[in-house]
Amino acid sequence: MNMGQDQNPVLRVSNLEVTYYTDSGRAKALDDVSFTLNAGEKLGMVGESGSGKSTLALAMMRMIKPPGRIEGGRVEIGGVDLMSLSEEDMRQARLSKIAYIPQGAMNSLNPVTRIGAQLVDAIRSHGIKDSRAQVEERCVNALKSVDLDPAVFRMYPHELSGGMKQRVCIAIGILLQPSVIIADEPTSALDVVTQRQVMETIDRVKDQINAAVILIGHDMGLMAQFVDRVAVMYSGRLVEVSTVREMFTKPVHPYAAALISSLPNLENKGVFQGIPGLAPSLLRLPGGCSFHPRCAKVMDICKTTRPTTRMVQGNRLVTCHLYNEEA
């Protein structure tokens, strides 16, 4: 699918599908997800809990565990489809092509080994045969680039604060200069001041290695400050991908519009507007467009026909019947 942007995006995800085979039935957690990302670009991935954001991250790392299964689709980085790699090649691709900065940085470091060891093993497992001193220097440089003291190399995780642990995870993420970094709610456990510092760190190291960043999260305020484009997910589908400015000023998908108008703003202090209804269970999705029972602009076609993703207004992606004729 052409996004009308750069003809050579660093990341191209096409038609990615993931299904969880649970005892109570099949749950389609990712349904036909496609998007592209250019080098140095930052994409925010938002959506309610259970909309498939973290599943998307796991699927791109090819780390979906049973009962989940990747049913199809491609994740191409620099033209190489990760889905077609052997297990061993995929292992090598993790961190060197696509890195993941975890959600729970508090517990993401092995409590019984030194920080240094946890950076060194990441390098060594990718077949890098440099001398010990060279590898150590590389690790210390990574720690420095996230504003950590080189002494952290010899420390244990319990000797660090939450923000410092998150920085260590970022340092690990950039060790092998990947082209894509997925940050899964990297700041959700941190206070707002630390949040900002961590986000600025991610921004800076991203520029150093010119990586594309996917930021997963709920915090629209953080997204508005940090990313270039925002992607909205709803029950496993990507319903809209637009630039930050477009998304916040005139969202095209009714769900994205409802999401934006539910944000508190200075003009309407004290007035909160929710989205009526609840997110549907993935086990019993409504027919047609899965958002239609909650949609303010529902039409007859929405109840019967599944909308396809199409390009509108130049380079915006939307999955909605309202835009059928624009394509």
Partner: protein, 331 residues
């Protein structure tokens, strides 16, 4: 750190003192007189008249100082703990208590230390693998029989093994420490003979205890593999072997190390039973014989030896544990 060492050593002394005091008084409540037991045995085989027997008993009682007030004897006893010398065995005079212990301890140590460590290694490896999603399926099939055998006490296991492997199939000797007629000279043939006699007692101890390790390790393993750092290790692109060894096993072993120290403390209990069943001249047998004849100097010696060993092990563990887990380093 020095303060901690001193505190721990004081605690160790307190444990040994309280255990030894309780142990001092218990045998004294018994009606059994060790000296009478010994000479009554001799009298039955003939040699002296009952009147002489009373005189002999009286003179020995005096010689061992058993006619003095209990409080005085207790003071002597405390002194003897410091000197690590409990004098002569009443029942096996002229052997000293130290002789009795020294003769028995190699048998017990070689059997129990080895079996405990073997079952610890097998059990933990099986337990860790059976909780590991990427482990081959046969591991779980292999672990299950051990878990089923957990409920079987070592004695029952020993009897069954004796019956089938020893008596029916005649694969292994029925008991004793070495074959009758073999000269205990330290040669290879002698060693091999001793080893053969150790197989059944060892099996009866191992088969029943592996399952416990499997269960506790599997529980621990399921918890650890859901930890964020194990997931992140996979995100980092580490291979399955490295994740298993450095992230998973390393963390599951922490509580198991404590459990191992505790298990080493309780092995003597199973030793009494198993050594009795197989006729091995170990510390369990020696204690059993001493209790039967109320040979209290030997009881004191053995109980204090065991208490001291276990308490020392615990204190030692407390200093080893920080090496395994940096989070509880004291400074």
């Amino acid at each position: 750190m020095l303060r901690l060492v001193i505190r721990r050593l004081l605690f160790l002394a307190l444990v040994i003192w309280s255990a030894s005091t309780i142990v001092f008084f218990i045998p004294r409540m018994s009606e059994t007189n060790a000296i009478r037991e010994r000479f009554a045995e001799l009298a039955r085989t003939g040699g002296f008249s009952p009147t002489d027997l009373e005189k002999i008993i009286e003179s020995y009682t005096k010689q061992f100082g058993l006619d003095r007030p209990l409080w005085d004897q207790y003071q002597d006893y405390i002194v003897s703990i410091f000197k690590l010398d409990f004098g002569f065995s009443l029942n096996r005079y002229p052997m000293t208590v130290t002789d009795v212990i020294m003769q028995a301890i190699p048998w017990t140590l070689s059997l129990l230390l080895v079996t405990t460590i073997i079952s610890f290694l097998i059990g933990n490896l099986l337990g860790a693998l059976s909780a590991w999603p990427k482990a081959p399926g046969w591991v779980r099939a292999f672990a299950t029989p051990f878990v089923l055998l957990t409920g079987v006490p070592p004695v029952i296991m020993g009897v069954l093994l004796l019956f089938f492997l020893g008596f029916r199939m005649k694969l292994l000797p029925l008991g004793g420490s070495y074959s009758i007629g073999v000269v205990p000279d330290g040669s290879w043939t002698f060693m091999l003979d001793v080893l053969k006699h150790q197989v059944l007692p060892a099996l009866s101890l191992i088969l029943g205890s592996v399952g416990g390790w499997v269960l506790s390790m599997r529980g621990m393993g399921i918890t650890i593999q859901g930890e964020d750092y194990v997931n992140f290790a996979e995100h980092k692109g580490l291979g399955a072997g490295a994740i298993f060894r450095d992230y998973y096993l390393r963390n599951t072993l922490l509580p198991q190390a404590t459990a191992l120290a505790l298990a080493l403390g309780t092995v003597v209990t199973s030793a009494i039973v198993v050594e009795g069943l197989f006729g091995l001249p170990g510390i369990g047998q020696a204690l059993n014989n001493a209790i039967r004849s109320n040979d209290f100097p030997v009881i004191y010696g053995i109980v204090l030896f065991i208490t001291g060993a276990v308490a020392t092990l615990m204190v030692l563990m407390e200093f080893v544990y920080p090496l395994l887990d940096p989070r509880i380093r004291n400074e």
